[in-house]
């Protein structure tokens, strides 16, 4: 029971992170049918922006831990959103009408560019978030001492996901985003500026990825310039698991993958953690290629 609860809460905390990143993949795919391979690196960028802000602003001297976390996340979201917007302008928009493979190659190039830029600026060694920002206390859950930090992680990502869900489903612009995902030409005939909607997607997705980056920094303490690759791949798996292009699917897929991975590591073997995650991907692709909630199939990428 102890082991199970520990792994469940750990899985939920990590799964929330996967879900936040997966949303960026799935939203871009839903609108452009493009896998934004640079998305994992935008997540990394969020972690590094967060670290720089934390140190240069001296936030920890003035505020309590929770407020520091909140402020960092919001600021990193804003900065990464700007980078995402630029990425779309520079690397994707000029290729919108060209061969699809060109955009994929451009995405891979952007990914390499970002991870190398981070390495050049911050160095190839891992960087460390100052410890003790978030409370390290434990919370008794059914008699098991579970670190409070896990609840904060999951709560933070759940809050952001609820906000996104509300925006997409309850606002006028959110309805326009869904319309563009269904039929771009028909959306244009409604008077929707499809270019602005695409730009907006490249603000929101990277912002969520940036938030996840800061959360990973706060949670694990250590960040590396290439961590976007492994987290990105897991989140991409999560997006496929839930059904790529489907927003609730990405949320569900991320959380499920986090829990499956944690359980697999605990009850099968920790060495097999990644293998288990990708085995899930392979099984989904074989038996339910549209994902758990999806209708569309990822093709040609």
């Amino acid at each position: 029971m102890e082991e199970f609860l520990q792994q469940l809460t750990n899985g939920l905390a990590v799964g929330g992170i996967y879900a936040l990143i997966a949303l960026g993949y799935t939203m871009v795919y839903g609108i452009l049918r493009l896998i934004n391979f640079a998305h994992g690196d935008l997540f990394t960028l969020g972690a590094y922006f967060g670290l720089t802000l934390l140190i240069s602003l001296g936030l920890a001297d003035h505020l309590n831990g929770l407020a520091v976390g909140g402020v960092l996340i919001v600021m990193a979201m804003g900065l990464v959103a700007v980078v995402g917007w630029l990425l779309e302008r520079v690397a994707y928009r000029p290729l919108r009408d060209s061969d699809r493979l060109a955009a994929v190659v451009s995405a891979l190039g952007a990914s390499i560019f970002f991870s190398n830029a981070i390495m050049l600026v911050y160095g190839p060694r891992s960087q460390v978030y100052p410890s003790g920002i978030l409370p390290s206390a434990a919370f008794p859950l059914f008699g098991v001492e579970v670190p409070v930090m896990r609840f904060l992680m999951f709560g933070g990502s759940a809050l952001l996901m609820c906000l996104l869900y509300w925006f997409i489903h309850k606002t006028r612009v959110g309805t326009a985003i869904r319309a563009v995902a269904i039929d771009q030409d028909a959306a244009k005939l409604m008077g929707i500026n499809v270019n602005s909607i695409i730009a907006l997607i490249f603000l929101i997705g990277p912002a969520l990825g940036g938030a996840a980056g800061v959360m990973v920094g706060l949670y694990y303490g250590q960040i590396t310039y290439d961590m976007g690759f492994s987290f990105g791949l897991k989140a991409f798996t999560a997006a496929i698991l839930g059904g790529i292009g489907n927003i609730p699917g990405a949320m569900l897929g991320g959380i499920l993958l986090g829990v499956i991975e944690a359980m697999g590591a605990a009850y099968i073997s920790i060495a097999w953690k990644d293998a288990i995650a990708f085995a899930v991907l392979i099984l989904i692709l074989i038996f339910r290629p549209t994902g758990l909630l999806g209708e569309r199939v990822a093709d040609k990428v």
Partner: protein
């Protein structure tokens, strides 16, 4: 013949898809308050003409003028803002959104809530079925209901000019009649209508004037009554004698 400049005018309009020219320089004049129908067989260029007006395809030559100003350099969403809305071929309703959301999107460029409510009321008078199905997903509607929704959605943008592409396609005859009655009523409320149709007889009955297209050219234009009586039109598009 009035000598006032036309409300909407296509001047020697050319459109190319790659190397293939689909419109070989067509000229169409539409006066304010008219129903103008464009007839022709499949592939004649009728749909291309409408998509060029709404900016989904860019002309390779010639021009499109609305209220005297050029339209052809504008992106589609700006054309909608000027008051030209388009109910496209194949309805193209947003199937996984509700009827209400589809209608809200139709009014995307119009921010006045009271005005939107008034239009919605009028739409429900035109198409009471839509009010009954307001919370249903558009994809679950029948073909006729989807057609009503496509027209209603275009009306939500408060058009000055409404472009309708094959509103009768695939509908039972009784529904066709009711759709055409609605188009006439929309027109009587002051909306200029450009109607592309294969059902030439029904279209000419409600239209003021008509153009006949063949392989990217206008081959005939006249008053609707004259076209209905024209033996060539009868032979080619009205299935012989009445």
């Amino acid at each position: 013949m009035k000598d006032t400049s036309p409300y909407l005018e296509l001047r020697n309009l050319r459109v190319k898809y790659g190397n293939v020219e689909a419109l070989h320089g067509i000229s169409v004049r539409v006066n304010k308050g008219e129903i103008v129908t464009i007839l022709g067989a499949n592939g004649a260029g009728k749909t291309t003409t409408l998509t060029a007006i709404s900016g989904l395809v860019k002309p390779s030559g010639g021009g499109i003028f609305f209220e005297g100003k050029p339209l052809d350099a504008l992106p589609s969403h700006k054309v909608v803002q000027l008051g030209i809305t388009h109910s496209p071929e194949g309805r193209r309703v947003f199937g996984t959104l509700t009827v209400r959301e589809n209608l809200e999107l139709g009014g995307f460029t119009r921010r006045d809530k009271e005005q939107a409510a008034a239009i919605l009321k009028w739409i429900f008078e035109l198409f009471p079925r839509l009010e009954e199905r307001i919370e249903q997903l558009a994809g679950t509607l029948s073909g006729g209901e989807q057609q009503m929704l496509a027209i209603a959605r275009a009306l939500m943008g408060e058009p000055k000019v409404l472009l309708l592409d094959e509103p009768s396609l695939g509908l039972a005859p009784i529904l066709v009649r009711s759709i055409f009655d609605s188009i006439r009523e929309i027109n009587e409320n002051g909306v200029t209508v450009i109607l592309v149709e294969q059902n030439a007889r029904a279209a000419l009955k409600i239209a003021d004037r008509g153009y006949v297209m063949e392989v990217g050219k206008i081959v005939m234009d006249d008053n609707a009554d004259a076209l209905l009586a024209n033996p060539d039109v009868q032979a080619a598009y009205l299935g012989g004698g009445a």
